[in-house]
């Protein structure tokens, strides 16, 4: 594929033509990312930008936590749950971590079955992934409810430094939003798999692209778990 050289700059063009040229020019990335599906390359670029968004949140969290003079709340105690009369530190967060990792495992297998063109297992594994994701969001909703009942607000909380609430709601809220969007996307792609859409087009890349997004959500949680909950 050679670079397109246009000599038609002087010809009158409508907005539609200009728009088509615009997308043609910007879509030429695949000459760089040779043999990489266009949608996949673009998903990676999106994930790169998302990396910077989450990094901004985590860096601002670091800045607040380092500069604050009041003691930072102990996450181990704040997120402890009392089960059977015993207080177990961080247990809900640990379970959420395992749920999200499991969803990543089923998603990786769904991508693999997709490339084998096995419609049934692909769709089933994607639905399983979405169910794990929905479980994760429900547990997060439970956690938010618990903390809000205990008086945690973005501007105050009973445990220590006031910035704790702002960091918690912003970081986990934005991550939870990503998970929720991912669940919807997975269900849409899974239903297209089931209906044989990708068998007709002969291209199962949509499953892999959805998978990339989902693994990224899991990846972000790895960093949130380490920096926000364990630090």
């Amino acid at each position: 594929m050679a670079t397109a050289i246009r000599n038609d700059a002087d010809e009158p063009r409508g907005p539609a033509q200009a728009l088509r040229e615009f997308t043609d020019d910007w879509a030429s990335d695949q000459e760089t990312f040779r043999h990489v599906h266009w949608g996949k390359a673009m998903m990676w670029i999106f994930l790169l930008s998302d990396t910077f968004i989450f990094s901004s949140f985590l860096v601002s969290y670091m800045t607040m936590r380092t500069s604050v003079t009041a003691p930072w709340p102990n996450a181990s105690e704040v997120f402890a749950l009392t089960i059977g009369g015993q207080s177990i530190p961080l247990i809900l967060i640990a379970i959420m971590t395992f749920v999200l990792i499991s969803s990543s495992g089923t998603m990786a297998m769904a991508v693999n079955f997709g490339y084998r063109r096995r419609r049934g297992p692909t769709a089933a594994l994607m639905v399983a992934t979405a169910l794990f994701g929905a479980t994760f969001v429900s547990m997060q909703a439970f956690e938010w409810t618990k903390l809000i009942r205990e008086g945690v607000r973005p501007w105050t909380n009973p445990f220590g430094a006031e910035q704790f609430g702002a960091c918690f709601f912003m970081i986990t809220g934005f991550h939870g939003l990503h998970v929720s969007v991912g669940v919807i996307m997975l269900l849409i792609v899974a239903s297209r798999v089931l209906r044989g859409h990708f068998d007709r087009s002969g291209d199962y890349s949509a499953v892999e692209i959805a998978g990339l997004y989902w693994h990224f959500v899991d990846l972000v949680w790895v960093f949130i778990f380490a920096f926000f909950y364990l630090w």
Binding site: M1, V36, W44, S60, M62, T63, T66, A94, A108, R116
Partner: protein, 141 residues
């Protein structure tokens, strides 16, 4: 040559685009046109189950760091090690980065290195703000 519209939509369907162009690098192009890229299809499912297991073990270990109240340098060393190992496994295996072409790998993995500068600057700034609060604002009260 103007862009070939069909190859935009479905590179995997397009006729194998001149493999001679990139003979030196591992080529992910499908030789038969219809077949999916060989690297994605030939991994046995066991690979993913094994990585899944590793991620479970690493998560358990990092949870145990908190459970047994490991403190100080050992705590953040362990947390960071487990975190980086988990992130590496997810990106390399689950996201297939290990089998991508170098052009894509570097386009995605190099830009985040710039974050090191942001972290360093904000860490210095935060330290400055902390001491300003302690020394001049009565501990920020």
């Amino acid at each position: 040559m103007i862009h070939d519209a069909t190859s935009h939509a479905h590179p995997h369907l397009a006729p194998a685009p001149a493999p001679a162009l990139a003979p030196a690098l591992p080529d992910h192009a499908d030789p038969a046109g219809q077949a999916p890229p060989a690297d994605h299809a030939t991994h046995p499912i066991g690979v993913y189950l094994k990585i899944w297991g590793y991620l479970f073990v690493l998560s358990t270990l990092s949870y145990l760091v908190d459970f047994f109240h490991v403190q100080g340098a050992a705590r953040w060393l362990l947390i960071l090690t487990f975190m980086l190992l988990k992130a590496g496994l997810i990106v390399a295996i689950f996201m297939h980065m290990a089998w991508e072409r170098m052009a894509l790998i570097y386009a995605i993995l190099v830009p985040p290195l710039a974050l090191g500068t942001l972290i360093l600057l904000m860490w210095i700034e935060a330290d400055y703000v902390f001491w300003t609060r302690i020394l001049f604002l009565g501990g920020g009260e």
